[in-house]
């Protein structure tokens, strides 16, 4: 159990509003493959890590982000960690 397991999947997705600058949050769904997004880059990976560390005090390994594809899968991995 960590702080992420206390937020719903939908709330989890909303956290990415702060991470993506060009991608409208409304265009994302839990089944979106985040690596297919135009804005996807190594900086986004670092941004995800920094955001969740700052807000939820959890450290996400880069591998977790690279190994998953959809926001749903990412939620599962992080909340079970």
């Amino acid at each position: 159990m960590n702080n992420i397991s206390k937020v719903s999947r939908e709330e989890f997705l909303l956290e990415f509003e702060n991470i993506f600058d060009e991608t409208p949050i409304a265009s994302l769904s839990l089944s979106t493959n985040y690596k297919d997004l135009d804005e996807w880059s190594s900086l986004i990976v670092l941004s995800i890590i920094a955001h969740f560390e700052e807000k939820f005090s959890i450290v996400i390994a880069p591998k977790t982000i690279y190994d998953n594809e959809t926001f749903n899968e990412l939620y599962n991995s992080i909340s079970q960690a």
């Binding site: 190594s42 900086l43 941004s47 920094a50 591998k63």
Partner: protein
């Protein structure tokens, strides 16, 4: 090469600093180790003693000024100093906080400046000594996420230059060594961040560095073989910055 010289190495409980301390011992110097992890410091000292040298260690968290003072007071006079303790950070600019800036600069810059100020104040650095700073090529590049780390190392490198002129009358030499990627605990993380290491390796004509590569250059800078060198910033990166 370093016969009977007392040399303090900060951050010698792991990685590059550990190897520098070991190599000082192998070159007949007396390494003085410091870091927070006392078990590791003890373990490395045992290893160095087995090689016939005379290391000592002093536990200190360099973020704490009182602990720096205690460290300085515990020291014999030094003929060499290696400023190696440091932490890496990958916070993109948009996610930087004041606390983050303070954390990184406190370890990578402020603590080192306070340590050197006190060593000079208490006359712990002998004339003709050598001071080596471990910088980083990050301070000369634009790698995403490294702004605070790069800026802290750039600050340290500028500080070293001014220090070099201020202590030159005492024939104390000050040089910076700026390594590229070296495989250590610290870079275990970096490798994770880049999915796999192969992509990076192409950028290093001579491959990633080892702690031995860096320690060899440090030993040279600590020794009299570099007696005419001061105020330099030497890049050691297996050719990374060639392209």
């Amino acid at each position: 090469m370093l016969s009977e010289k007392n040399i303090l190495v900060t951050g010698s409980s792991s990685g590059i600093g550990r190897q520098i301390a070991i190599d000082i011992g192998l070159n007949k110097g007396n390494p003085i180790l410091t870091g927070r992890n006392i078990e590791k410091l003890e373990e490395i000292c045992k290893l160095i003693i087995q090689e016939g040298a005379h290391p000592v260690y002093h536990q200190a968290d360099l973020r704490n000024e009182n602990e720096i003072t205690d460290l300085v007071m515990s020291l014999p006079n030094l003929s060499g100093l290696v400023i190696n303790a440091g932490i890496i950070d990958y916070t993109p600019v948009k996610f930087i906080s004041k606390a983050k800036i303070d954390d990184i600069f406190l370890v990578n810059f402020t603590s080192n400046v306070i340590l050197i100020k006190k060593l000079l104040e208490y006359k712990k650095i002998n004339n003709n000594s050598s001071i080596v700073f471990i910088g980083s090529i990050s301070s000369k590049l634009g790698v995403p996420g490294t702004s605070l780390y790069a800026a802290s190392k750039a600050a340290l490198t500028s500080f070293a230059k001014v220090l070099a002129i201020e202590v030159s009358a005492k024939k104390i030499r000050v040089n910076v060594l700026s390594p590229g990627l070296v495989t250590t605990d610290l870079t275990g993380n970096i490798r994770d961040k880049k999915s796999d290491g192969s992509e990076k390796d192409k950028n290093y004509p001579l491959g990633w560095g080892t702690t031995h590569n860096v320690a060899n250059a440090v030993i040279f800078l600590l020794s009299d073989k570099s007696e005419w060198m001061t105020g330099t910033d030497i890049v050691i990166d297996g050719g990374f910055t060639l392209s």
